[in-house]
Amino acid sequence: MLNAGDYQAIWLTLKLAGLTTLFLMLLAPPLAWWLSRSQAKVRPFIEAMVALPLVLPPTVLGFYLLIAFSPDHFLGQWWLELNGSALAFSFEGLVIASIIYSLPFAVQPLQSAFLHLDKSYLEVSATLGYGRFERLYRIIFPMLLPSFIIAAALSFAHTIGEFGVVLMIGGNIPGETQVLSILLFDHVESLQYMQAHKLSFILLAFSMSVLVIIYGFLQKRQQRVLNA
């Protein structure tokens, strides 16, 4: 049904989305916490940067990243010296780009959860002997687990559906940067409609399932809140 190239693209896509989600789940909680608490003057600026991928055409983001990744520029040069390979047209480059591209999907659900967190839970945690950071990862983050699941699911699903950014910086190398959405584009370009149908359906079914799961989760939480 699917050929070897299709399977390779599916695996690569899952690997990219998995790694991106993992990094985002490390990066987003502290960032979201800071955004929900900080009164700093730079906050609106940082907040705008985080949200930028929501409104910017992915090709614009991809274009700037392509330039930043080139060995002529600081980031690309630093990476080249460190690893001996270029960042542009590499899987590592895709992971970095995906983290930036999916950042708002990880940060925003968490930021909203942190913002609505009742301060009294933090106070109680302190009186129970938990320090500043321990309070968060031992008590508050587990308490807000549903929001973390939503953030992770959205980041994962959004990375799977990435196209414009990958197109700009990926270079369509099978097994390295050729993800599902790019391969689908290839199939259509070469008039292989049957293959395109299959891949499209996989992406459609996957996205739909993720969203149903997320909204099911939200509904349960809403019921709990209404019942409490």
Binding site: T127, L128, G129, I139, N227
Partner: protein, 355 residues
């Protein structure tokens, strides 16, 4: 020992200045005052939940000063708030385990507290399914499981039903024999039942610190308006007359104290009791009233009086070695030609048992 000097100003320019120094060996010290007077603010400052200018010392530990601030998590305090604040994602036992996890040795265990507070059957329940009274019992257990050196409670019983209060008040009193307790309340009943000491708060300042019995007799304090509602007598149970449903009690302080009859459904549980006599329920006469339904007649001496704005007089009466208030009309006061030193009879219509 608890010593504090706290200056706190809120954004809306409401400012508080609390200063106090009290011995805190064990027992309950209540913080009492009108709403808005600053009771909760004082407690939150003592806990370390609010920032302020000043100092707090607790039993030779410097909790807060211009150079030092000990974080709440390092203070070895137990805290119970008005709302239970249990973590909704955990069941009862998991909530309690979070408190146990941070202490080494503790005289309290989950099982023994569950037994004493009667929530053994609830350990596996989600906390969102519990009633307010059940939640607060678990919150109190949680605070004790941290093995605190000082237990701070902010009106923990104010939103609970009577049966929960009946269970928790004696429990808190028992706990206070081991751990000093600071307890905010606006209930006179709780105040008299629990307090060994009280901090009276008025208008953002500490107005007085002392034993409630003494502070209630000081008519210069803001407490007077509560006090005039009624004072508390310490009595000893003598006998229970089952057929009449009455307990005979004797006033404490004298070998042969005067006695009173109080209606009761059951034999008193403790020998020592406290009864509150509402100043409106006291009738004054110059001679004992005979041939009436009144059961209780105390011989008393008028030690002071003060006129209220509504043409009534509050008399302070010394009965044996204790005091009660009587509220009478100005007209009766003049008719009876009362003055300081007058010997009178105080007839008490009803009274309530506090414990």
């Amino acid at each position: 020992m608890l010593k504090f000097n706290i200056k706190k100003t809120f954004n809306d320019e409401k400012s508080f200045h609390f200063k106090g120094d009290l011995n805190l060996p064990s027992g309950v010290c209540t913080i009492f005052g009108d709403s808005g007077a600053g009771k909760t603010t004082l407690l939150r400052c003592l806990m370390g939940l609010e920032s302020f200018d000043g100092e707090v010392y607790f039993s030779h530990q410097e909790w807060c000063s211009s150079e030092k601030f000990v974080k709440i998590e390092k203070r070895e305090i137990g805290a119970v708030f008005q709302e239970p604040r249990l973590f909704p994602h955990l069941n009862v036992k998991q909530n309690l385990k979070l408190a146990v996890a941070k202490v080494g040795k503790s005289p309290f265990t989950i099982d023994s507290l569950a037994k004493q507070l009667g929530f053994e059957d609830l350990l596996k329940h989600r906390v969102t399914q519990l009633s307010g009274g059940q939640k607060q019992r678990i919150a109190i257990a949680r605070a004790l499981l941290t093995n605190p050196q000082l237990l701070m409670m902010d009106e923990p019983l104010s939103s609970l039903d009577e049966s929960s209060k009946k269970l928790l008040l004696p429990f808190i009193k028992r706990v206070s024999l081991q751990i000093p307790v600071i307890y905010i309340t606006h209930s006179i009943k709780e105040l008299f039942y629990l307090s060994d000491n009280m901090i009276l708060i008025n208008n953002g300042e500490v107005e007085a610190i002392g034993e409630p019995q003494n502070l209630f007799l000081n008519s210069k304090l803001s407490l007077a308006k509560f006090a005039h509602e009624g004072l508390v007598l310490n009595v000893l149970a003598k006998e229970f007359y089952e057929e009449d449903g009455l307990i005979e009690v004797m006033l404490k302080g004298k070998v042969e104290g005067q006695t009173l009859f109080i209606s009761a459904e059951d034999t008193p549980k403790a020998n020592k009791m406290q009864v509150r006599i509402n100043s409106r329920d006291v009738i004054i006469s110059l001679k004992p009233i005979v041939g009436s339904s009144l059961l209780n007649c105390l011989s008393a001496e008028v030690v002071s009086f003060s006129q209220k704005e509504n043409q009534s007089m509050i008399l302070t009466l010394k009965v044996d070695l204790q005091y009660i208030y009587a509220r009478i009309t100005l007209r009766s006061f003049n008719n009876l030609k009362l003055s300081v030193g007058s010997q009178v009879y105080a007839h008490v219509k009803t009274m309530s048992i506090l414990n």
